[in-house]
């Protein structure tokens, strides 16, 4: 186990390094922050040079990149080109917001998709099954910003129940989390259903029933844990997609998270913020995947001993 974690950590470092390299390089291909900072006015090349120098962009790419790497190790991601706020400060505010939202969404999706998936599997081929499958697909048919706006119109404007945007209290989480959860649920329901069907046909389920256990115990104790592996794997994979998709949800709900931070940084070509935020996001995604691998072992002892 220790060896396994060590190996995965080494891989993780490699992945995060590769990600930082790709991002640092690509963002530099996409535009010059000096021009971004000067806006629409009349600027001379000299003005631009001055700004580049002030931002340290006059150095060769390798030097800039190494400097960035060095910074990472001491937890210093540099300062934003816009306003000079330390990137680490920006991230330390945005990261919890995003992680909270991401986990709430995942949790919501699990809470929705597990019972639905089990229900569909138990009723396989009958109308409840078809209904669940069809409904779950609706979530795939509208883009998340659209669902989000609709939800705001309904819950905030028509009913006046929830705040339309911002991160204020627990009620602020409901709509953003639901928006993302609906989309995740579409695929998760299928997944739960499939692996549940697989599990339910196993002999140990019949054995559990032959012991006189209640259906609920059979389904949620004996079957669910065995079906959880594919779900957990997928959730690990989803996390990356979730973080990607969070950009839009954060924007609609004006959520002060990493998506907003990174998106604004791209728009402004704010290299340090972008590099910093994508690095941290990548780190988290990798970490989540690592946790997923460890969770495997907890869920399924067969994997633990390998």
């Amino acid at each position: 186990m220790a060896g396994f974690i060590l190996k995965r950590l080494l891989q993780a470092i490699f992945v995060v390094l590769a990600v930082t390299l790709i991002v640092s390089f690509a963002i530099r291909l996409s535009g010059d922050p000096a021009i971004m900072l000067t806006g629409a006015g009349s600027v001379t090349e000299q003005d631009l040079q001055n700004i580049r120098k002030a931002l340290g962009l006059d150095r060769p790419f390798a030097v800039q990149y190494l400097g960035f790497l060095k910074g990472i190790f001491v937890g210093d991601f540099g300062r934003s080109f816009m306003g000079g706020t330390p990137v680490s400060l920006l991230i330390s505010k945005a990261l919890p917001a995003t992680l909270l939202l991401a986990f709430t969404s995942l949790l919501t999706s699990i809470v929705l998709s597990v019972p639905l998936g089990i229900y569909a599997a138990v009723n396989r081929g009958r109308w409840p099954d078809q209904l669940v499958r069809v409904i779950s697909l609706v979530g795939l048919s509208f883009p998340n910003f659209w669902l989000a706006i609709m939800m705001v119109l309904f819950f905030s404007i028509t009913l006046g129940l929830l705040p339309p945007s911002g991160m204020e209290g627990p009620e602020s989480f409901i709509m953003p989390a639901l928006t993302m959860a609906i989309i995740l649920t579409a695929t998760n329901v299928r997944l739960v259903r499939t692996s549940m069907l697989e599990t339910l046909s196993q002999q140990y389920i019949m054995v559990a029933r032959s012991k006189g256990l209640k259906d609920r115990v059979v389904l949620y104790k004996h079957a669910l844990r065995n079906s959880a592996i594919p779900l957990v794997t997928y959730i690990g994979l989803q996390f990356g997609g979730l973080i990607g998709g969070i950009v839009i949800v954060e924007r609609v709900f004006n959520w002060p998270g990493m998506g907003t931070l990174a998106f604004d940084a791209i728009s402004a070509r704010d290299y340090p913020v972008l590099q910093g935020s994508i690095t941290v996001l990548a780190l988290f995604i990798v970490l989540i995947n690592l946790l997923v691998d460890i969770a495997y072992g907890l869920i399924d002892p067969r994997i633990r001993t390998e």
């Binding site: 490699f14 991002v23 697909l137 883009p143 998709g245 839009i248 791209i266 990548a282």
Partner: protein, 285 residues
Amino acid sequence: MATVQAARSTRWRFRSFELIVGVLLTGGMTLAVLFSSVLFPDGGESMDLMARLIPPFESPAHILGTDPLGRDVLARVIVGGKISLMVGVLSVIGAVILGTLVGLVAGYYRGVAEILLMRFADIQLALPFILIAIMFLAILGTGIDKVIFFMIVAQWVQYARLVRGSVLALRDREFILSARAIGVGNLRIIFQHILPNVLGPIVILMTLNVANNILLESSLTFLGLGVDPLIPSWGGMLADGRTYLQSAWWVSVFPGLAIMFTVLGLNLLGDWLRDYLDPTGQTSK
């Protein structure tokens, strides 16, 4: 024998629901899209600024109403299917072909190809998709071709992973061993024995991704990185219609419904196809 019969008849009924509804939805949509140039010779481009935002079912000339520029929503939904389906289908096909080949090679031959693939996959998974899309399109510029290209680049790894996983599970299966025992060569094993057996999950992922990619175009438009708004597309219409959700719901709801029916149809067809591809009839899991 009777069992097989009984099992098959229930399966057939189950399948036919999916097949009929799937074909009706997908086929209807495809036909409408294919014949859109006959149905709407103007390509949904005719603009009438004086007839903007007519609600649906009010004017016989505009059954589904008009958009803010006075263009016929029905025409644009039908014509828009062309681009949306093209984006969705081409990107998926491209990614499937690339990903499947890599996955087969990596899973079957293992070695360097596999290591490279897995590291690739790790990196790709660690990159927040939309953000990378924004950067990618900022560098390359926007355009349908680029959006498709990007989606292929971004998604092939999914298929490669999936295929690799299936191949790993398959390669030690007895029928592969028995083919090898007979003297069947590697290429034939890969394409005759392994590929047909991994198609099922690929089909399912494909149908899900078509939806995903149609919507991605929409998200890109939302973020200001869409494609030419003159060319109608479902995603573009949804994104543009967001300003009118309170005043003119029909502008975005109808393209959304079009996506929904297509997604539903494709998924049902996908489920059916997966079952069909599997002659053992272990019905839709």
